[in-house]
Protein backbone atom coordinates (compact mmCIF):
# COMPACT_ATOMS: atom_id res chain seq x y z
CA UNK A 1 0.00 0.00 0.00
CA UNK A 2 3.01 2.29 0.06
CA UNK A 3 2.83 4.78 -2.78
CA UNK A 4 6.46 5.35 -3.61
CA UNK A 5 8.27 8.64 -3.16
CA UNK A 6 7.54 11.15 -5.90
CA UNK A 7 4.86 9.04 -7.56
CA UNK A 8 1.90 11.23 -6.69
CA UNK A 9 1.38 14.51 -8.56
CA UNK A 10 2.14 17.43 -6.28
CA UNK A 11 -1.51 18.58 -6.02
CA UNK A 12 -2.51 15.08 -4.90
CA UNK A 13 0.37 14.90 -2.44
CA UNK A 14 -0.68 18.19 -0.85
CA UNK A 15 -4.37 17.27 -0.97
CA UNK A 16 -3.89 13.98 0.90
CA UNK A 17 -1.62 15.70 3.40
CA UNK A 18 -4.39 18.22 4.06
CA UNK A 19 -7.00 15.50 4.49
CA UNK A 20 -4.83 13.38 6.80
CA UNK A 21 -3.46 16.18 9.00
CA UNK A 22 -6.63 16.81 11.07
CA UNK A 23 -6.98 13.07 11.76
CA UNK A 24 -3.41 12.94 13.04
CA UNK A 25 -3.94 16.02 15.23
CA UNK A 26 -7.13 14.44 16.62
CA UNK A 27 -5.16 11.25 17.22
CA UNK A 28 -2.48 13.07 19.21
CA UNK A 29 -5.14 14.74 21.39
CA UNK A 30 -6.91 11.42 21.93
CA UNK A 31 -3.69 9.57 22.77
CA UNK A 32 -2.72 12.26 25.28
CA UNK A 33 -6.14 12.02 26.90
CA UNK A 34 -5.94 8.24 27.16
CA UNK A 35 -2.52 8.43 28.83
CA UNK A 36 -3.70 11.15 31.21
CA UNK A 37 -6.95 9.47 32.21
CA UNK A 38 -5.71 5.89 32.41
CA UNK A 39 -1.93 5.76 32.77
CA UNK A 40 -2.14 1.98 33.03
CA UNK A 41 -3.07 1.92 29.33
CA UNK A 42 0.33 3.33 28.33
CA UNK A 43 1.90 -0.09 27.90
CA UNK A 44 -0.94 -1.34 25.74
CA UNK A 45 -0.84 1.81 23.63
CA UNK A 46 2.85 1.18 22.96
CA UNK A 47 2.12 -2.48 22.22
CA UNK A 48 -0.49 -1.48 19.64
CA UNK A 49 2.16 0.66 17.95
CA UNK A 50 4.72 -2.14 18.17
CA UNK A 51 2.25 -4.55 16.57
CA UNK A 52 1.86 -2.41 13.42
CA UNK A 53 5.60 -1.78 13.46
CA UNK A 54 6.18 -5.53 13.37
CA UNK A 55 3.47 -6.56 10.90
CA UNK A 56 4.09 -3.82 8.35
CA UNK A 57 7.70 -5.00 8.05
CA UNK A 58 6.65 -8.52 7.06
CA UNK A 59 6.33 -8.88 3.33
CA UNK A 60 4.57 -12.15 2.67
CA UNK A 61 4.12 -14.18 -0.50
CA UNK A 62 0.59 -14.49 -1.79
CA UNK A 63 -1.35 -16.78 -4.13
CA UNK A 64 -1.04 -14.27 -6.97
CA UNK A 65 2.72 -14.80 -7.11
CA UNK A 66 3.52 -11.42 -5.66
CA UNK A 67 4.34 -10.16 -2.18
CA UNK A 68 2.64 -7.69 0.08
CA UNK A 69 2.38 -6.97 3.77
CA UNK A 70 -0.19 -6.72 6.56
CA UNK A 71 -0.72 -3.39 8.31
CA UNK A 72 -1.41 -4.36 11.92
CA UNK A 73 -3.60 -1.34 12.60
CA UNK A 74 -6.72 -3.34 13.48
CA UNK A 75 -5.58 -4.33 16.97
CA UNK A 76 -5.09 -0.80 18.23
CA UNK A 77 -8.26 0.41 16.51
CA UNK A 78 -10.36 -2.21 18.32
CA UNK A 79 -8.79 -1.53 21.72
CA UNK A 80 -8.43 2.26 21.65
CA UNK A 81 -10.66 3.38 18.80
CA UNK A 82 -9.42 4.49 15.41
CA UNK A 83 -8.09 7.97 16.25
CA UNK A 84 -4.86 6.96 17.99
CA UNK A 85 -3.87 4.66 15.14
CA UNK A 86 -3.45 7.65 12.84
CA UNK A 87 -0.51 8.72 15.00
CA UNK A 88 0.98 5.27 15.53
CA UNK A 89 0.57 4.41 11.83
CA UNK A 90 2.20 7.66 10.80
CA UNK A 91 5.24 6.92 12.97
CA UNK A 92 5.63 3.55 11.25
CA UNK A 93 5.25 5.11 7.80
CA UNK A 94 7.78 7.84 8.64
CA UNK A 95 10.31 5.25 9.78
CA UNK A 96 9.88 3.33 6.54
CA UNK A 97 10.04 6.46 4.39
CA UNK A 98 13.22 7.77 6.02
CA UNK A 99 15.21 4.59 6.66
CA UNK A 100 13.93 2.10 4.10
CA UNK A 101 13.11 4.32 1.10
CA UNK A 102 9.75 2.56 1.31
CA UNK A 103 6.83 4.89 0.76
CA UNK A 104 7.94 8.49 0.96
CA UNK A 105 7.65 11.95 2.44
CA UNK A 106 5.72 13.40 -0.52
CA UNK A 107 3.32 10.44 -0.40
CA UNK A 108 3.13 10.35 3.41
CA UNK A 109 -0.27 12.06 3.50
CA UNK A 110 -1.78 9.55 1.07
CA UNK A 111 -0.18 6.56 2.79
CA UNK A 112 -1.27 7.76 6.24
CA UNK A 113 -4.79 8.16 4.88
CA UNK A 114 -4.96 4.57 3.59
CA UNK A 115 -3.07 2.72 6.33
CA UNK A 116 -3.49 4.86 9.42
CA UNK A 117 -6.96 6.36 8.87
CA UNK A 118 -9.22 4.32 6.56
CA UNK A 119 -7.94 0.94 7.77
CA UNK A 120 -8.39 1.68 11.49
CA UNK A 121 -11.81 3.33 10.99
CA UNK A 122 -13.06 0.35 8.99
CA UNK A 123 -11.64 -2.03 11.61
CA UNK A 124 -13.32 -0.13 14.40
CA UNK A 125 -16.65 0.05 12.53
CA UNK A 126 -16.59 -3.67 11.73
CA UNK A 127 -15.66 -4.46 15.35
CA UNK A 128 -18.58 -2.41 16.70
CA UNK A 129 -21.03 -3.82 14.18
CA UNK A 130 -19.94 -7.44 14.61
CA UNK A 131 -20.06 -7.17 18.42
CA UNK A 132 -23.51 -5.63 18.28
CA UNK A 133 -24.68 -8.45 16.03
CA UNK A 134 -23.56 -10.89 18.70
CA UNK A 135 -20.32 -12.20 17.22
CA UNK A 136 -17.80 -13.58 19.71
CA UNK A 137 -14.78 -11.42 20.53
CA UNK A 138 -12.49 -13.62 18.45
CA UNK A 139 -14.71 -13.48 15.37
CA UNK A 140 -15.28 -9.73 15.70
CA UNK A 141 -11.56 -9.04 16.09
CA UNK A 142 -10.74 -11.31 13.16
CA UNK A 143 -13.25 -9.57 10.88
CA UNK A 144 -12.11 -6.13 12.03
CA UNK A 145 -8.43 -6.76 11.30
CA UNK A 146 -9.06 -8.58 8.02
CA UNK A 147 -11.46 -6.02 6.55
CA UNK A 148 -9.38 -3.11 7.84
CA UNK A 149 -6.38 -4.49 5.98
CA UNK A 150 -8.37 -4.94 2.75
CA UNK A 151 -9.83 -1.44 2.99
CA UNK A 152 -6.33 0.03 3.26
CA UNK A 153 -5.30 -1.56 -0.02
CA UNK A 154 -8.55 -0.58 -1.74
CA UNK A 155 -7.91 2.99 -0.66
CA UNK A 156 -4.44 2.86 -2.21
CA UNK A 157 -5.97 1.61 -5.48
CA UNK A 158 -8.42 4.52 -5.51
CA UNK A 159 -5.65 7.01 -4.70
CA UNK A 160 -3.52 5.76 -7.57
CA UNK A 161 -6.52 5.70 -9.91
CA UNK A 162 -7.35 9.33 -9.08
CA UNK A 163 -3.78 10.30 -9.90
CA UNK A 164 -3.47 8.10 -12.98
CA UNK A 165 -6.87 7.63 -14.64
CA UNK A 166 -6.91 5.10 -17.44
CA UNK A 167 -6.63 6.74 -20.87
CA UNK A 168 -9.73 4.99 -22.23
CA UNK A 169 -11.76 3.89 -19.19
CA UNK A 170 -10.98 6.80 -16.87
CA UNK A 171 -10.88 6.62 -13.09
CA UNK A 172 -13.21 3.58 -12.68
CA UNK A 173 -11.09 1.61 -15.14
CA UNK A 174 -7.94 2.59 -13.30
CA UNK A 175 -9.44 1.58 -9.94
CA UNK A 176 -10.08 -1.90 -11.34
CA UNK A 177 -6.59 -1.98 -12.84
CA UNK A 178 -4.75 -0.98 -9.64
CA UNK A 179 -7.21 -2.94 -7.52
CA UNK A 180 -6.30 -6.01 -9.58
CA UNK A 181 -2.69 -5.66 -8.46
CA UNK A 182 -3.48 -5.12 -4.78
CA UNK A 183 -6.80 -6.75 -3.93
CA UNK A 184 -6.28 -10.42 -4.87
CA UNK A 185 -2.78 -10.47 -3.47
CA UNK A 186 -4.12 -8.99 -0.29
CA UNK A 187 -6.97 -11.38 0.49
CA UNK A 188 -4.90 -14.25 1.98
CA UNK A 189 -2.61 -11.76 3.72
CA UNK A 190 -5.60 -9.98 5.22
CA UNK A 191 -6.80 -13.32 6.59
CA UNK A 192 -3.34 -13.99 8.05
CA UNK A 193 -3.45 -10.57 9.69
CA UNK A 194 -6.89 -11.35 11.12
CA UNK A 195 -5.69 -14.64 12.61
CA UNK A 196 -2.53 -13.12 14.10
CA UNK A 197 -4.46 -10.20 15.56
CA UNK A 198 -6.77 -12.63 17.40
CA UNK A 199 -3.77 -14.56 18.74
CA UNK A 200 -1.91 -11.45 19.94
CA UNK A 201 -5.06 -9.90 21.39
CA UNK A 202 -5.66 -13.05 23.43
CA UNK A 203 -2.07 -13.23 24.57
CA UNK A 204 -2.03 -9.56 25.56
CA UNK A 205 -5.22 -9.77 27.54
CA UNK A 206 -4.49 -13.08 29.20
CA UNK A 207 -8.21 -13.57 29.54
CA UNK A 208 -9.07 -15.10 26.22
CA UNK A 209 -12.68 -14.85 25.19
CA UNK A 210 -13.88 -13.16 28.38
CA UNK A 211 -16.32 -10.34 27.90
CA UNK A 212 -14.10 -7.80 29.64
CA UNK A 213 -11.07 -8.70 27.52
CA UNK A 214 -11.06 -5.52 25.49
CA UNK A 215 -11.99 -3.25 28.41
CA UNK A 216 -9.12 -4.68 30.39
CA UNK A 217 -6.73 -4.04 27.52
CA UNK A 218 -7.63 -0.42 27.04
CA UNK A 219 -7.35 0.19 30.75
CA UNK A 220 -10.96 1.08 31.43
CA UNK A 221 -11.18 -1.67 34.00
CA UNK A 222 -8.69 -1.81 36.84
CA UNK A 223 -7.11 -5.20 36.86
Amino acid sequence: MHIMEGFLPIEHAIGWLGISAPFVVAGVIRAKRIVRERPQAKMMLAAAGAFTFMLSALKMPSVTGSCSHPTGTGLGAVVFGPAVMSVLGMIVLLFQALLLAHGGLTTLGANVFSMAIVGPWVSWGVWRLASRLGASIAIAVFLAATLGNLSTYMTTSVQLALAYPDVSSGIPGAIIKFGGVFAFTQIPLAIVEGLLTVVVMNALSGRAGKVDEIEALCGEVHR
Binding site: M43, M54, T64, F182, V192
Partner: protein, 99 residues
Protein backbone atom coordinates in the same frame (compact mmCIF):
# COMPACT_ATOMS: atom_id res chain seq x y z
CA UNK B 1 -10.63 -25.24 23.45
CA UNK B 2 -9.47 -21.70 24.07
CA UNK B 3 -6.19 -23.04 25.38
CA UNK B 4 -5.25 -24.43 22.03
CA UNK B 5 -7.07 -21.94 19.87
CA UNK B 6 -4.09 -19.62 19.52
CA UNK B 7 -1.91 -22.51 18.43
CA UNK B 8 -4.33 -23.57 15.72
CA UNK B 9 -4.77 -20.03 14.53
CA UNK B 10 -1.00 -19.63 14.21
CA UNK B 11 -0.72 -22.91 12.32
CA UNK B 12 -3.46 -21.73 9.94
CA UNK B 13 -1.66 -18.41 9.44
CA UNK B 14 1.63 -20.18 8.72
CA UNK B 15 -0.04 -22.49 6.18
CA UNK B 16 -1.66 -19.54 4.42
CA UNK B 17 1.69 -17.79 4.31
CA UNK B 18 3.72 -20.65 2.92
CA UNK B 19 1.12 -22.28 0.68
CA UNK B 20 1.89 -20.00 -2.29
CA UNK B 21 5.55 -21.02 -2.13
CA UNK B 22 4.86 -24.74 -1.77
CA UNK B 23 2.26 -25.19 -4.48
CA UNK B 24 3.54 -24.72 -8.03
CA UNK B 25 0.13 -23.51 -9.29
CA UNK B 26 0.79 -20.16 -7.67
CA UNK B 27 3.67 -19.12 -9.83
CA UNK B 28 5.21 -15.73 -10.03
CA UNK B 29 8.37 -13.92 -9.17
CA UNK B 30 6.92 -12.75 -5.83
CA UNK B 31 7.68 -9.13 -6.47
CA UNK B 32 6.23 -6.54 -4.10
CA UNK B 33 2.86 -5.08 -5.10
CA UNK B 34 4.14 -1.58 -4.33
CA UNK B 35 6.76 -2.03 -7.04
CA UNK B 36 4.19 -3.47 -9.44
CA UNK B 37 2.06 -0.36 -8.99
CA UNK B 38 5.09 1.76 -9.90
CA UNK B 39 5.58 -0.33 -13.05
CA UNK B 40 1.92 0.17 -13.96
CA UNK B 41 2.25 3.93 -13.56
CA UNK B 42 5.32 3.98 -15.80
CA UNK B 43 3.50 1.82 -18.36
CA UNK B 44 0.49 4.11 -18.34
CA UNK B 45 2.62 7.27 -18.42
CA UNK B 46 5.80 6.40 -20.31
CA UNK B 47 8.70 8.56 -19.33
CA UNK B 48 7.21 9.49 -15.95
CA UNK B 49 9.91 10.76 -13.65
CA UNK B 50 9.20 10.83 -9.91
CA UNK B 51 9.53 14.48 -8.88
CA UNK B 52 11.08 13.72 -5.52
CA UNK B 53 13.69 11.17 -4.52
CA UNK B 54 14.00 9.44 -1.15
CA UNK B 55 16.40 11.35 1.08
CA UNK B 56 18.30 8.16 1.80
CA UNK B 57 18.15 4.73 0.21
CA UNK B 58 19.64 1.60 1.76
CA UNK B 59 22.84 0.95 -0.21
CA UNK B 60 22.02 -2.71 -0.88
CA UNK B 61 19.32 -5.35 -0.61
CA UNK B 62 21.19 -6.80 2.36
CA UNK B 63 21.12 -3.55 4.29
CA UNK B 64 17.46 -3.10 3.41
CA UNK B 65 16.53 -6.58 4.63
CA UNK B 66 18.47 -5.95 7.84
CA UNK B 67 16.48 -2.77 8.46
CA UNK B 68 13.21 -4.60 7.80
CA UNK B 69 14.30 -7.37 10.16
CA UNK B 70 15.15 -4.79 12.84
CA UNK B 71 11.73 -3.22 12.38
CA UNK B 72 9.98 -6.58 12.83
CA UNK B 73 12.23 -7.61 15.72
CA UNK B 74 11.72 -4.38 17.66
CA UNK B 75 7.96 -4.66 17.20
CA UNK B 76 7.78 -8.34 18.11
CA UNK B 77 10.17 -7.86 21.00
CA UNK B 78 8.09 -5.16 22.59
CA UNK B 79 4.79 -6.97 22.03
CA UNK B 80 6.37 -10.04 23.66
CA UNK B 81 7.58 -7.94 26.59
CA UNK B 82 4.08 -6.57 27.24
CA UNK B 83 2.56 -10.06 26.94
CA UNK B 84 5.11 -11.31 29.48
CA UNK B 85 4.45 -8.46 31.88
CA UNK B 86 0.71 -8.99 31.76
CA UNK B 87 1.15 -12.72 32.21
CA UNK B 88 3.43 -12.14 35.18
CA UNK B 89 1.09 -9.68 36.85
CA UNK B 90 -1.90 -12.00 36.43
CA UNK B 91 0.09 -14.89 37.95
CA UNK B 92 0.96 -12.70 40.92
CA UNK B 93 -2.65 -11.71 41.37
CA UNK B 94 -3.72 -15.34 41.30
CA UNK B 95 -1.16 -16.11 44.00
CA UNK B 96 -2.62 -13.42 46.22
CA UNK B 97 -6.11 -14.70 45.52
CA UNK B 98 -4.98 -18.06 46.89
CA UNK B 99 -3.67 -16.61 50.16
Amino acid sequence: MNRHRSLWLMVAAAILMFLPLAIPVFQGDFEGTDGQAVEMIIQARPGYQPWFQPLWTPPSGEVESMLFAIQAALGAGFVGYVIGRRHGSSLKRNDHDGD
